[in-house]
């Protein structure tokens, strides 16, 4: 695989490696934000939620830095073929990770306003498992991208189905809860939006996996994303 060979101009390799190191770091920040947000929710820990909200600034800053570095690399090195696809994939992937950070921040914001009496018990546990799964998908998708591993990327892409199913189950449960008593509607709506945010974060992991496939194969996957539709009948 010629992509693994070194460039004649070694500064080109250094630029690409630096770009990917920052991308991996961004992925680490996004995964941690998601994990911390889910933990803060389960414990209804407002100070922890505040920290997640505050930490999002670092994520935004790093994403912007990566976009600038990528633009500079394109301008100076004029990358082609797999080098070009790599830079494009990192740019798009970084954008997805920044969005994941925003979702984690939203989860934390809603956690902050959930009353201590909120019916978080069973639901928060499911949400934590969901976010753990999404976190793992993000980790594997970014690794698939950096290591140009089409197999791993394909596996991540398939796993989005699990997230969708967990979300659907949660949705049904919250729906029942809301029908039981109007007093549950407020907190259950918050929990629903939180679950939706995490489900969206999972979609972004899938997007990154698709970018890894684009890098590895030169084209986006043409088959539709595996999707579990939502069923609203209670």
């Amino acid at each position: 695989m010629s992509d693994n060979e070194l460039h004649i101009m070694s500064a080109f390799d250094r630029d690409l490696e630096a770009l990917q190191a920052h991308f991996l770091k961004l992925s680490g920040l996004a995964e941690r934000a998601l994990t911390d947000a889910a933990k803060a929710l389960e414990a209804l820990d407002s100070p922890a939620a505040e920290r997640v909200i505050a930490d999002d600034a670092a994520l935004d800053e790093l994403e912007e830095f990566i976009q600038m570095e990528a633009a500079s690399l394109i301008a100076r090195r004029a990358p082609t073929a797999s080098d070009l696809r790599r830079v494009l994939a990192v740019m798009r992937g970084a954008h997805s990770l920044e969005r994941v950070g925003d979702y984690a921040k939203n989860v934390a914001k809603r956690t902050r306003v959930l009353p201590q009496s909120a019916p978080v018990d069973g639901h928060a546990g499911t949400i934590r498992r969901m976010s753990a799964l999404v976190t793992r998908m993000l980790d594997e998708a970014t690794r698939a991208l950096v290591q140009k591993d089409a197999q791993l990327a394909e596996a991540v892409r398939k796993r989005d189905l699990d997230i969708d199913q967990m979300y659907n189950t949660l949705f049904r449960s919250l729906f029942t809860y809301m029908m039981e008593s109007p007093a549950n509607i407020g907190p259950a709506m918050h929990l629903h939006f939180i679950a939706k945010n995490i489900e969206r974060a999972g979609d972004h992991a899938t997007t990154i996996a698709e970018q890894a496939l684009y890098l590895a194969t030169g084209r986006m996957p043409t088959d539709p994303r595996p999707k579990a539709g939502i069923e609203t009948e209670g």
Binding site: D3, E5, L6, I8, F12, A78, T80, A81, G218, R219
Partner: protein
């Protein structure tokens, strides 16, 4: 994802101008070109890229029988221009070169006036009957070469007095004055500054409306900028030939990938 591979391409509908089949070139013992087969499209720019000594210039020179002048060169295989074998003994190389024009690396205007430089080809090929017709060809050629505005008031001035970029455009005007069908360019911008290069590239893009243009270049960015089709040569082989957008975003052959990304292949 194919959006960036399709810009400016209408090559799907273009027809082949030149068909090369199993072309081999030997320079004495040296096997310089190995079994090259390719269809060069009409009204499109085709770029030949590859490291030095890969055979791209050798192949370009086959297309108007420039290798005839090299005593040790032996060309075999078939090159058809509009279905006609250009190596047929009945084909007059001089007539062929009126149909297949050539522009070289260094601008090489004759030490004559701007007018005479352009008028030379039509005169020796007897393409005009009188001065008025010749004037018209000179003007049309200089206009096509995007030089008319800059030289129309000094057509009697020596061609060698122009700037490098203007000289190269003069050579292009000279090459198109005989009404060729194909224009071969061997590194036409390597002696030019970036502004003159951009002007010649803009000109090449305009010329493809009327000609089949083949350009040999060491600048991969130039190939990416001006061509619709790219052929990559390596060690005398035509390794890969395809749409320029595909070659530069997703080449099929690892040798092409290694070359265009600047790796040790």
């Amino acid at each position: 994802m194919n959006d960036m591979t399709r810009t400016g391409l209408e090559t799907e509908t273009a027809t082949a101008k030149i068909s090369a089949r199993g072309v081999q070139v030997h320079y004495g013992q040296n096997h310089a070109l190995k079994n090259v087969s390719v269809e060069i499209l009409d009204r499109a720019v085709t770029a030949f890229i590859g490291p030095s000594g890969c055979g791209k210039s050798t192949f370009l020179r086959c297309l108007n029988r420039m290798n005839d002048t090299v005593a040790s060169a032996r060309v075999s295989g078939q090159i058809l221009l509009e279905g006609e074998d250009i190596y047929d003994p009945r084909v007059d190389p001089v007539q062929l070169r009126a149909r297949v024009g050539m522009v070289f690396q260094k601008p090489n205007p004759f030490p004559k006036s701007i007018y005479d430089n352009v008028a030379y080809g039509p005169k020796i090929h007897g393409l005009t009957r009188n001065k008025a017709e010749l004037d018209a060809i000179v003007e049309a050629s200089l206009r096509k070469a995007a030089l008319w505005g800059e030289v129309k008031d000094r057509l009697d001035a020596p061609g060698t007095g122009l700037s490098g970029g203007q000289q190269q455009r003069l050579c292009i005007a000279r090459a198109i004055a005989t009404g060729p069908e194909v224009l071969l360019m061997d590194e036409p911008c390597s002696a030019l500054d970036p502004i003159a290069t951009a002007q010649v590239e803009e000109l090449i893009d305009e010329l493809r409306a009327s000609f089949s243009v083949v350009i040999v270049t060491h600048s991969m960015q130039q190939a990416a900028r001006v061509s619709q089709k790219t052929a990559f040569f390596h060690l005398g082989h035509l390794v890969e030939y395809g749409d320029t957008g595909d070659i530069f975003t997703n080449p099929k052959d690892p040798r092409t990938e290694a070359y265009i990304t600047g790796r040790i292949g």
